[in-house]
């Protein structure tokens, strides 16, 4: 588990025309928090997550994990990608044990845990299958299992359920809730789906359109354990109305600054 602090983080991509993707982002995430970053697509959510993961460097400002500067990508920050990004030439089992193997963990020390994680995501019977033989939801579950095996201090998830159909998506959300309520890892969860953000997170950070800043942070006080049934409660609807209003005003703000 980890504490994450962003201080005035900005990011400019120097492409043919420079793109300012993040503008002075401040964000504090306490140990064990589940934070959702919510914003329209193209606003800079992935950029922010990639800085946390170490895939990109911030152009300005400081990004800290447990007080130290975030360095290269590593197993302490497990990333779950939108398209799962499994190695298609490895079986489910080989994908799940890839991390421990790369870190030189002896087989005896990771095998039990890998088996346990496969069981947690319900894929024990598919250990020998290749990713091409799995459905999108199953692939994403492998993506989660291979990260959990490494006992990361933080889980960074970039629209992990964005490409799934509605039903699979809900099943995955429930699975993630169960897993997280057991492990209590710090989670940064990127999404453009308001329902998903409210259902999962303890706090929703609404991001403005590009260049992204964090607008308002809305704590979600729905009791845990949560389930899909919470989607229809009055409190849920109240949060949804509040966040939608916030997103609309963030959008207006961005348009007026752009003009």
């Amino acid at each position: 588990m980890a504490e994450i602090n962003l201080r005035q983080v900005s990011k400019t991509y120097f492409a043919a025309t420079p793109v300012r993707a993040l503008d002075s982002v401040d964000l504090d995430i306490a140990e064990g928090d589940f934070v959702a970053l919510l914003g329209p697509s193209g606003c800079g959510k992935s950029t922010l997550l990639n800085i946390l993961a170490g895939f990109e460097d911030a152009s300005e400002g400081s990004a800290l994990i447990d007080g130290g500067a975030i360095g290269k990508p590593g197993p302490d920050r497990g990333v779950v990608f939108q398209e799962a990004a499994l190695f298609p030439w490895l079986t489910v089992w080989e994908n799940v044990v890839f991390g421990p193997k790369m870190q030189g963990v002896p087989r005896a020390d990771y095998e039990d845990r890998a088996r346990e994680m496969l069981a947690t995501v319900g894929l024990t019977d598919f250990a020998g299958s290749y990713p091409a033989q799995l459905s999108g939801g199953m692939r994403q579950r492998v993506g989660i299992a291979r990260v959990l095996v490494m006992r990361p201090r933080a889980l960074l998830m970039d629209e992990p359920f964005g490409a799934l159909d509605a039903q699979t998506r809900m099943a995955m959300q429930e699975l993630l809730l169960t897993v997280w309520e057991k492990l209590n890892t710090t989670v940064v969860f990127v999404t453009h789906d308001i329902d998903e953000a409210i259902l999962l997170a303890g706090r929703v950070c609404v991001m403005t359109a590009r260049p992204a800043r964090i607008g308002r942070e809305i704590p979600i006080a729905l009791p845990r354990p949560r389930s899909i049934d919470d989607l229809t409660t009055p409190e849920f609807t109240r949060y949804k109305a509040e966040i939608m209003a916030e997103m609309r005003s963030a959008h207006r703000q961005a348009e007026s600054t752009a003009a």
């Binding site: 170490g54 590593g74 990333v79 990004a85 091409a132």
Partner: protein, 297 residues
């Protein structure tokens, strides 16, 4: 969709109807043509008629005033070449077919192996690292337009009349398609796969071996198949000039002494060996890339 049906579909030659299509318009000719036997019959129409016309238009076993032997004489020549008694009688080729096939095949295999051992790592380096591209790519691009036939005198001067000369040319000829296709494959590795590996603690060499190499494998196999074809061209050319054994040597020698029946039997042998070695690569490819055919969603 089960994985077996996908495998079957992938293994079926192009143009073959899927089993399901039989239900529609299942006339008798359609059924015959969609069977394996029907396919074979269709494929044989052209070669059989060419051979028949060739055979029938010959007089006294030859065409064009004795220049071209008829097919039956070619088969007879091949039979003696393959199964005749060895020893320097009237027919120096008698019984030497297998030995010559082995000579040529061995050279192709050795040159091809060298091409793989050099071409794949070089291609990975060029495709993956900017430094690799800057150091190697210009040299490869400058040397590539020189046809391997133009290297013949050079390789004779360096290696003399020997098998090395042939192996050098084969390796060089096969190297280009292998290195170029490997480069393409290594250049287009999905970015998130590399990021995922980094995130799981993979080091630089692990990334190359466990991500870039397997991701480039489909492209590498394309290069291998083209390279092997060039390897066979190179072995024949160099054996005609630089070595005194092998199918290329026999080809030229037989032409010199006017044995066109042996020349044609030799040509067919080269074709068959090229086909067989290509099938072998396809087999290895299907095994190595089985994860791609493993199934649909």
């Amino acid at each position: 969709m089960s994985d077996t049906s996908v495998k079957q579909a992938a293994g079926r030659p192009a143009g073959l109807a899927a089993p399901g299509s039989r239900a529609l318009g299942s006339t008798l000719p359609a059924i015959i043509l969609s069977s394996n036997l029907g396919q074979l019959l269709l494929a044989l129409i052209l070669p059989v008629s060419v051979i028949a016309i060739w055979q029938l238009s010959g007089t006294n076993g030859s065409l064009f005033g004795g220049v071209l032997p008829t097919p039956d004489r070619v088969v007879a020549a091949w039979w003696t070449w393959a199964f005749g008694a060895t020893g320097m009688g009237l027919n120096p080729y008698s019984g030497t077919w297998l030995a010559n096939v082995v000579f040529s095949t061995q050279r192709v295999a050795q040159g091809f192996l060298v091409a793989i051992l050099v071409g794949v790592p070089a291609g990975i380096w060029i495709g993956w690292s900017r430094l690799g591209a800057q150091v190697l790519d210009p040299t490869v691009q400058i040397l590539r337009p020189i046809p391997i036939t133009a290297w013949l005198p050079f390789s004779l001067a360096v290696f003399g009349i020997s098998g090395f000369s042939a192996i050098f040319l084969i390796a060089l000829g096969a190297f280009y398609p292998i290195v170029i296709n490997t480069t393409q494959g290594a250049r287009h590795v999905e970015r998130n796969l590399v990021r995922a590996a980094l995130m799981m603690g993979a080091g630089r060499f692990d990334i190359l071996r466990r991500v870039v190499l397997p991701a480039a494998l489909p492209a590498i196999f394309t290069g291998l198949r083209i390279g092997l074809g060039i390897g066979w061209t190179a072995v024949i050319v160099s054996e005609m000039i630089a070595v005194k054994s092998g199918l290329g040597y026999v080809l030229w020698d037989a032409y010199y002494v006017g044995r066109m029946d042996v020349v044609i039997a030799d040509m067919v042998s080269i074709g068959v060996m090229g086909l067989l070695s290509d099938q072998l690569i396809l087999l290895v490819e299907r095994w190595a890339l089985s994860w791609r055919l493993a199934g649909a969603r």
